[in-house]
Symmetry: C2
Subunit: 469 residues, 2 copies
């Protein structure tokens, strides 16, 4: 797919003095090999790769400092890279430069089970974290689907299925260690659960997509594993019924841990992919966390509300392996849906609206896909008013691409008109820069630009993302 912002595309040649300095400092952990560069020039968006000019595999905050100082001395852009699972072109080297790969920084720094906190290196993934704490009785709930790194999740303000109950990276990040554009190291917070001590640097970096500095450590909240968990699925005759069911569940305050919507296309796809036999109509997947009795109470209430909204086929999955199968199917949905049009690429987009507007926003967006004959699926973290549209396109066909981009633009305009946001959890990256202006207005964008200019005056930190310089 072609970049919508070619104005950001600048071709660089890496200065020989920088190459030799990086080689001297990092040895074989600095690479300019074609394969390594190409691997780091792509994410899970449908953009064509834009490789950096070199990649450093760092092992410590001090090494990130050294890398930043060397790149800065040569005015070369710096792009942080965690697991490459971002969805809006966040890691593409639109202005060339050096990618700092943090995946080898994957150690637990400190687990404080008694305080329900963990401090980890930024390259540790969420699954690695949950594995590392599995004997503590605690878990880390944020689950964006991909096994993303904690640093990347903080940088994109990620969330996912559990956010309706546990919040997003915004609410669950207590502190960050950040290497700034001038190579200083700051700690943005403490392990105190709350603080009124000055400007909220933690939240400034959460969601900053590497454009203000490089996150090297993350302190997150953990939660006691619930005494009881149950999951359920049920089917609805229409999307409106399913969404209205969710709206009512949220409005009366049932503390549902997950509530996910799959449209009929999505259900059909996971049936084929995961060899399931779910009714091929709108599906809701629920998960409830709490005490034995509390979970039963929540679930009964949810089922009663679902039934009022014409749900059928309520099925319970209380055994862990049944639940795992169900959630694996949900997590595979992206890949399953891609099979609906062999050889295609998926454009995945998301938005988030106040929950009372969710049914309208989904239905109008679906009608738009259908009017444009775009094979698609809508999947939603509907408890938060957040949904995804996966559109299957032929990336070599400009008409196909243009149609999908137009649907996306109209979805964003619709969400913004409903007092919602152009992205609930994917981030801005390259793809939503213009929408950001629509959403926030010129004065707020000017303030964001002022912040960027103040903290990265030479525009070296992941340039070309979030804002046009």
């Amino acid at each position: 797919m072609h970049l919508p912002t070619p104005r950001a595309l600048i071709k660089n040649v890496l200065p020989a003095s920088l190459v030799s300095a990086l080689s001297a400092q990092f040895g074989e952990r600095f690479s300019t090999a074609q394969a390594v560069r190409e691997h780091h020039g792509r994410d899970e968006s449908s953009y064509d790769p834009l490789p950096p000019d070199g990649v450093i595999f760092v092992r410590s905050t001090e090494e990130v400092v050294a890398a930043v100082k060397l790149c800065r001395a040569h005015a070369v852009p710096i792009i942080p890279y965690g697991s490459g699972t971002s969805l809006e072109g966040h890691v593409l080297a639109v202005q060339g430069g050096i990618t700092i790969d943090l995946s080898q920084m994957n150690q637990m720094v400190a687990l404080h089970a008694e305080d329900l906190t963990a401090t980890v290196q930024a390259g540790l993934t969420r699954k690695q974290l949950n594995l590392a704490i599995k004997d503590s009785g605690l878990f880390f709930p944020i689950d964006p689907g991909a096994d993303a790194s904690l640093g990347g999740m903080a940088a994109t303000r990620a969330s996912g299925t559990n956010a309706v109950r546990y919040g997003t990276m915004r609410e669950n990040t207590l502190a960050l260690t950040v290497v700034t554009a001038d190579g200083s190291v700051i700690k943005t917070g403490t392990r105190a659960k709350k603080s009124s001590a000055g400007y909220d640097l933690t939240r400034l970096f959460v969601g900053s997509e590497g454009t203000l500095g490089i996150i090297t450590e993350v302190t997150v909240k953990l939660y006691p594993r619930p005494e009881a968990t149950s999951a359920a699925v049920c089917s609805f005759p229409s999307i409106a019924d399913a969404v209205n069911c969710v709206i009512q569940i949220i409005q009366i305050g049932i503390p549902v841990a997950r509530v996910e919507l799959l449209d009929a296309h999505g259900v059909k796809a996971i049936n084929a992919y995961d060899k399931l036999s779910l009714p091929e109509t709108t599906l809701l997947l629920f998960e409830f966390h709490g005490s034995e009795h509390g979970v039963r109470e929540q679930a009964e209430l949810a089922q009663a509300i679902a039934t009022e909204h014409r749900a059928v086929g309520f099925e319970w999955a209380t055994r862990p392996e049944e639940r795992t199968e169900l959630w694996a199917a949900r997590h595979n949905a992206y890949f399953a849906i891609l099979q609906l049009r062999p050889g295609c690429k998926g454009i995945s987009t998301d938005c988030c609206v106040p929950i009372s507007r969710l049914a309208d926003c989904i239905l109008e967006t679906k009608a738009d896909c259908e009017a444009n004959a775009i094979i698609h699926s809508i999947i939603g973290h509907v408890g938060d008013g957040n949904f995804h549209v996966l559109m299957l396109i032929d990336p070599s066909d400009p008409v196909d691409v243009a149609k999908a981009e137009a649907v996306n633009a109209r979805m964003v305009a619709r969400a913004i008109a409903m007092d919602g946001t152009c992205t609930g959890e994917h981030g801005v990256g390259l793809h939503k820069i213009d929408f950001l202006v629509q959403e926030h207005g010129e004065a707020a964008i000017a303030m964001m630009r002022t912040l960027k200019h103040a903290l990265d005056p030479e525009n070296l930190m992941n340039p070309g993302k979030i804002l046009v310089w």
Copy 2:
């Protein structure tokens, strides 16, 4: 009490051209009367008043814009004022200037009950908000004790008794309307529950204490009023027992809505003030929210844990009037404690630590008060690891003041050494500027200063607070 930062104290004379321009614009709503200025030069801290040179009672965002532009044109400082209930000297006019009183901006802008959000003018107080929404089945949980304005609560990142369950202003503010230093109006967010759309301007202004701009509207989350509520008190032989009980309740994940500690001095004070007969030893006050069965389950579990920690005299208050009496006593504690030393002034300070360190932090701080013969009380939002020390001093006695300040400094150093924060909810104001440096380190403070310089290059927005320019 004398200012600890006289370096910020600058004497101004209001330019005559500004006085006439403000009079022309605001008529009688611009005042330079001595009584009005003195009223606006004090908060609930123990500082001697520092009146502004004039006060404007604004009625709209547009009027704030006009006021900011006029003050800026004359290089005169601007101080926002909500209800004057801050605790660290936030509203004192250390460099003179004009106070913008927002208390007449106290209207509901939009209640979206179906989305669990309300947008209010910044001068609306939390009690006014709860009154305005009382027929909706919803409530706004954040309760810092004082009937503070929503704008002030956002500006100081306030929290209070319910934060352990519902979070602070950080988590509950969805969007702000802000008048910036150059008189622009920005909206920092939307009503979407989550967003990854660019830098988090909302969180940048939450906790910025008026130093980056003036908050004129606040969009907050609301919550369904719980089906059932119960409150309880019990007494412990020691502070350590009580705190250890709370630690265990939090660690196993009981979703307690409030858990407050009062030390023996505090209990004695409220017994006298509210004509109660509670045992004069460490007290915990609990509140539980949920379904009928859920509340009973939480409460029984909490009682069992309390009993393990030698609690006695568990008493339930399930009737609304009993609960109201109990929480009124808690909220009156500040005034009740002041009566322990007639004619004194109270220095109220707070800190917040990871919960595993809470007992140590409280006990060492209490021992320090006792070693210095300071009449005091410790009251805590202990579920968050947050506590307050109220020290009763003779403000005219420099020895008394110095002793209290030294206890405060050692408490903060202790909290920071425990990976906690110098203030959990009061904010920095004038009083914790030096501690902020201790907590964050020079590099992070340099970044905060960069932000302040970028967004308020002429240092006109509540100058002298949070940071030394």
